[in-house]
Structure formats: C-alpha cells, structure tokens
Amino acid sequence: MANRLLDRQARLLAYLTSGAAIFGEEGVAADPLLGIDPALLHLEARFSHEKRMEKISAAFPKTLQMLGANRAAVIRGFVEACPPSDISRLANARQFHEFLLARWQDEAPEPAHLPDVAACEVACATVRAGADEAPQEEGGTRAPPFGIRRHPGVVLLRCRHDVRPIFEQDSQAVPVRRDTPLAVVMPPGAHGVQVMELLPVVFDLLSALGDWTDPATFGSAPEASVLIRDLIEHGLVEGVR
C-alpha cells in the first residue's frame, strides 16, 4: 500500500510544499521513500513556490511592501501553515489574507493600518476576478420583473483607517485613523478597480441590498430616486425595470 502511486504523489507534494524543500535547508533530508535527488526537489519546490508567490504578490503588492523586514518571516510562516490547495490566483490571495488575519490575532500588525490595506487589496483582487459576479442561472436570487440590489461585483469594507491615500497616491502615505466605510467596485466602463468612500447611510443601505428589493420600499421621494440612479451609475447597484 505504501507503494501506491497516490501515496507517493501525496508524499512528494507534502515535501515540495514544505519550508525545508522550498528554502533548501541544509541537514533536512528529502523523504527517502521518494528516491529522488534532493537538489532537484529543491529546484522544483522553489519553482512552484515562486509561481504561487507571483499570484500572491500580484494581489498584495502594498501589503507585502509594508511588511518590510517581517516579510520573509511572514512568508515562511505562510508556507508552513498553508500548503497550496487551489490553482487560482484569488484562492491563493484569500488563503494568504486569512493567514495574515490569524497571525495578527497573536501579533499586533505593524504598521497598525496594515490589516485595512490587506483587506482592500484582497477586495480589489476579488472585484478584479469578478468572483462574485455569478450569472443568474448559476445561483443567487433570480431577478424579479423589477427591483434593485447591490451589484454582486461590489465588496463593502469598514476600515479603521482611511487607507485611500495609499491606493490613490503612494504606499508611504500615513492614513488617518477614523472609521471609513468603503466600497471596492469596478464602475461601468472603467478599466480598473476603484476604492471609494461611502456615506455611512449609503454603506448601510448597500449592506441591506443583498437581495432584489422593490425600490418603492425607499418611498416615493425624488431624493430616493436620485440616490438609486447615482448608485447605479457608479456600479454599486444594479436595477431591473
């Protein structure tokens, strides 16, 4: 049974995704049952790790930069705690984000606004991938004859710091600490993801609009119609007439 191909493949992947194989630690031998040159396994492990980190770096350029001197230790911890389980960029990005959140439970993030930056970056990756943009027939609530709902491609975030300058200007900007309701969205016709601040009341409205809703619910005041039209124009809400 130990020689079954699946067992050998599982042993190989366990080794190739280990810190010992990826970082080439001396004195840590490869699984002798594999019978493969450890130097070549190290090379394979390094190639695979670099491909995975390319996916993660593409999603978290600012977070990784802001990790600074801790970056190597964080990545090492990530490798040991989270073996790759999915091929997609977004799945790897989410896995890295969950790892960071768990780490920050035990170790205060430095700088303090780093969790907000990471949350924004994973939200951007999600919006970019259109991961939440499930076609009607694949799931979710079927559209009624008329109604509005939050656009499925929008991600809402409530941040403790106003991190928008980091995204709009540069990573060195020091964000102000204040409760900041944000929407991460790909507006119609835009070529890139945008991070926009919302009024708290709009944030709450969008939070409540997960399902199709009759716009008459918001009353017949002209201000309500103007607001809904504005939200549709910004890609925050989709409507069926």
Partner: protein, 294 residues
C-alpha cells in the same frame, strides 16, 4: 484546422492581459488557443471577451487543471465544464498535460512528471477514455518539461507517450520547447526523441521560450519553461525536424510573461511561419529538413 488542408495553422495562446492587442492583430493569427480553465475560473467580463472571439478566428482548447496523472478518480464535474467550454468555443480538439499537479487537499499548480512505467500508462489510458467519453472532440496529451524523474521509470519519454496514445487513441500535442529543455537539462538527444515518436502521433505543436536558472548548490545551468522570452533557434530547428515527420494541424506560440514585448511575439510568429513554410517546401521537393538524429 490547417490553413489550406496541409499547412499547419499558426497562432497564439490567448491571454486576457493582451486582449486589446490580440483583437487589433487578429488577422495575424490563423488560430488562437484558449485555456479552458480561464473560461471556467474567470469573471463574466473575461469569459465574455473569450467567447466573443468565436466565429472571428478559429479557436482550439487547451487545459491546465485536469491533473490526469493524479492516482485518483477524475473530477467529472470539471470535465463537464470543460466539455461545455469546448462546445461553446467550437474547438476541434481539447488538449491537456501528461502530468499531475495535485493530490486531494494539496494543489501545487505546477506540472509534475509521472513514473514512466507500463502500469502507470495503463492507468492513464483508462483516464483518457473517461475524458473522451465526456468531451466529444479529439483529446490530445502534451509532453511536459520536468525537473526530476521518478527512480522507477522504465520507459523513455517517447515510449511512454507512444504507449498511452496508441492504447487510448489520444493524439499528441508536441511541446517542442519542452523537448528542447528536457534534452538540455537531462542530456538526451532531442532528435532521437522525435524520431522515436510514432508516425502520425503529433496533432498540434507548442512553441515557447524560457530562461536559464542556476541549480543550487551546484550552480549548473537549468533551462526553465517560463514562456517569457523569444523561441530559441535550437527549438525552431527541432520544429523544422518535427514537421518533416509529422503533420500537425496547429502550431501555437505560448507566451505568459513579458507580454508587453509584443514585437517579440510577432517576431516569433514570423519565425515559426518561416519554419513551417520551409518545411512545406522541403516536403514538396523531398529534401531533408534541418537537424539530425545521428
């Protein structure tokens, strides 16, 4: 899918990062290769952009997510999604790598070799038949590049491919760059490999260019299949040699990195076209093509 019944169609692996450029240059490609996994995992906009190409240019279908070599049942739900994409693309064939990338709970997302034995070949043949039963177009297996070999491998690369394709009816997507890299990295004669492939096996071809890395700690140069640089002349020589022995219907240039260097992409396509034209001329005049197994 040939340009005029005998000359291979020459094209590019479609990448959404250069979608605008690809559309602006559509007349330069006889065919585009679509990665079915991009259709399966992409957002609606990216999927729509891919399906918008149907009818504008012939498309062929290639996969990276099957992991046919994993010693576990195939993911039939994935295969059914592949079948739907292939149908939507109106692709004449579907190709995948003869490799494994994952085991339950762990996905390396990198192609790994299989032990080249008759027993493993038998397992793969059964899997190929399962694929053929769910995806109703010809199925092609692609030779991969590999860093290491399993110690119990008994068959050569060509013997392993010949055996699986003969028993299953699969065709071969010959990745010429991978032959070039493996020959360089593992010290075998790439022309002998091409000679050893069964006649008529090669249905499609991949071309690409990689980089040289240093193997640690020995410092030995190792060629990596990065799809990032121009196709090396030695790989074009191998293509010419292969075209003297096989009649693929499609030759695809793969490019995944440094995509902004579009002039390199166009130059590679021109070089591949010249190689294809030269091989056709050689066939007409009965002349030998470049390279030699001796």
């Amino acid at each position: 899918m040939t340009t005029n019944g005998s000359v291979p169609a020459v094209g590019l692996g479609y990448r959404s990062a250069i979608d605008d450029w690809t559309r602006a240059n559509l007349d330069r490609f006889d065919v585009l290769e679509i990665t079915v996994d991009h259709c399966i995992h992409a957002g609606a906009a990216q999927r729509a952009a891919i399906f918008d190409l149907v009818g504008r240019v012939p498309l062929t279908a290639h996969g990276v997510g099957l992991s046919i070599g994993t010693d576990a049942p195939l993911d039939v739900a994935y295969l059914d999604r592949v079948a739907a994409v292939v149908e939507r693309l109106e692709a004449p064939a579907y190709s995948e790598h003869l490799a494994f990338t994952r085991v339950p709970g762990r996905d390396l997302a990198n192609l790994l070799p299989l032990p080249k034995t008759e027993a493993v070949a038998e397992q793969i043949v059964a899997k190929v038949r399962a694929v053929q039963s769910r995806v109703p177009v010809p199925f092609l297996l692609e030779n991969i590049t590999y860093v290491f070999e399993w110690p119990d491998s008994k068959l050569s690369d060509a013997e392993f491919l010949n055996l699986i394709c003969r028993e299953s009816g699969a065709g071969l997507l010959l990745d010429v760059e991978n032959v070039f890299l493996n020959a360089s990295n593992h010290g075998f004669n790439p022309y002998a490999f091409l000679d050893d492939l069964s006649a008529g096996l090669v249905r499609e071809v991949h071309m690409a260019g990689g980089v040289t890395v240093r193997e640690e700690p020995s410092g030995r140069p190792f060629l990596a299949d990065s799809h990032s640089h121009p196709v090396p002349d030695a790989a074009l020589d191998l293509l010419a040699y292969a075209l003297g022995r096989h009649r693929p219907s499609v030759v695809i240039l793969e490019r995944d990195d440094r995509l902004d260097a579009v002039d390199e992409v166009l130059d590679d396509l021109a070089r591949i076209r010249a190689c294809v034209a030269s091989a056709q001329l050689g066939k007409r005049h009965g002349e030998p093509v470049a390279g030699s197994a001796s």
